[in-house]
């Protein structure tokens, strides 16, 4: 007869909060939220600049590919219909 290992059922969030409360480890400082928000506000502004530059490069690339892309697709669709002269 085989012995099967049985795992305990996963704990819910409420059970986890209750367990942490008994250990005294879940002591959130009073100014925790304020400090976090300050950190977020002080994120470097350059990221948006970089995003802006990337955005323009993407647009330029898209428009640059657009002309040959559309030309190629149209030429492909009408490849059978485009005529050569035979006198």
């Amino acid at each position: 007869m085989k012995h099967m290992k049985t795992q305990p059922p996963p704990m819910t969030d409420a059970q986890l909060d209750q367990l942490l409360a008994t250990t005294g480890q879940l002591q959130v400082p009073d100014d925790f939220e304020q400090r976090i928000m300050q950190e977020i506000a002080s994120l470097p502004e350059t990221t948006s600049d970089i995003k802006g530059i990337n955005h323009w490069w993407q647009l330029a690339g898209l428009l640059g590919a657009g002309i040959p892309g559309i030309a190629q697709v149209i030429s492909f669709i009408f490849s059978i219909w485009s005529v050569t002269s035979a006198g």
Binding site: L62, Q72, F76, S79, V83, S85, A86, G87
Partner: protein, 306 residues
């Protein structure tokens, strides 16, 4: 939990419907790639490519009369797939205002996919036109009354090549490279094959001593002569006062002797000699458009060229 939300906030980017639609306009399925629908994008591109290729290929195995209708269906199907790809990409992008880009959605992926797709389309286009089917426009009246000036026709390119099912036969209307200017194509009827003896006397063509003429009818200032070969019967036109005679000649190996059906107004083998067999690249199959001084000749659309 807070950390996860923060990560999501940092990586979420808006999908822009106009960009998605424009990408599918450039290349069907490309907008779906932008929306993160990899499988759908690939399927749309494959569907688009196949709709241009298999139907035209299929027509070549069916009677020539089906060529034009099937090619029109193929064209409509292709345009529908393209339109669907554009609208679908635009709509899908609108449904994804908070989108988390997938790991493969990098500029290099888009550039690579675009270049590969362009290469596939370019190779396929060249292959179809050089090996399967090609459209030609006729700028001269040298093939009157069979092919008129202003006719547009499809030619079967699976003709007279190594491994091809169809070989050059007497009576075929062939398209070949003009011997005196290799950048031009000519369309004429193959009259004699390698080794045949050909001569012309009193508006009658003789092949190996046998006249091709079956009957002659009058039309204003011309004679309409019906000629017959082993595989075909056709009408040619001679001016009434044309008394051209050509002494008997033997067609050399690896060449064919060609004549225009408008015998009195055609630059053909009587002037430029025989045509190397390897320069014969296609056989006329079906008219798909025709226009003249009086406008579109609707009655000729879809006519099988014989």
């Amino acid at each position: 939990m807070l950390v996860n939300e923060e990560n999501n906030m940092n990586t979420t980017t808006q999908r822009k419907p106009l960009i998605a639609g424009f990408m599918s306009l450039i290349l069907p399925g490309f907008g779906q790639l932008y929306n993160g629908q990899l499988n759908k994008g690939i399927l749309l591109f494959i569907g688009f490519t196949l709709s241009v290729i298999p139907l035209p290929t299929l027509t070549l195995w069916l009677p020539a009369v089906f060529t034009l209708p099937l090619l029109i269906i193929s064209l409509l199907l292709t345009l529908s797939i393209w339109l669907y790809a554009i609208i679908n990409a635009w709509k899908q992008a609108r449904l994804q205002p908070g989108y988390v880009p997938k790991a493969w959605q990098q500029p290099a992926t888009y550039i690579g996919a675009f270049l590969i797709a362009m290469l596939i389309l370019s190779i396929t286009t060249d292959y179809v036109r050089s090996h399967l089917i090609e459209a030609f426009t006729i700028p001269s009246s040298s093939m009157l009354p069979t092919v008129l000036k202003g006719d547009l026709l499809f030619a079967d390119k699976r003709y007279n090549c190594p491994g091809c099912k169809h070989h050059a036969q007497r009576g075929d209307i062939a398209i070949f490279v003009y011997p005196n200017n290799r950048s031009w194509y000519y369309i004429k009827r193959i009259i004699a094959l390698p080794g045949d003896r050909v001569s012309i006397k009193d508006q009658t063509v003789f092949i190996n001593g046998q006249a091709l003429t079956q009957s002659t009818a009058q039309e204003n200032d011309a004679n309409l002569v019906t000629e017959k070969t082993e595989t075909s019967s056709y009408q040619v036109r001679w001016s009434k006062n044309d008394a051209l005679t050509m002494a008997e000649m033997t067609v050399p190996a690896g060449a064919v002797f060609v004549l225009g059906d408008n015998r009195s107004a055609s630059n053909d083998s009587r002037k430029f000699g025989t045509v190397p067999m390897m320069d014969v690249v296609g056989k006329a199959r079906q008219l798909w458009f025709s226009y003249g001084e009086d406008g579109v000749r609707w009655e000729r659309l879809g006519e099988v060229v014989k």
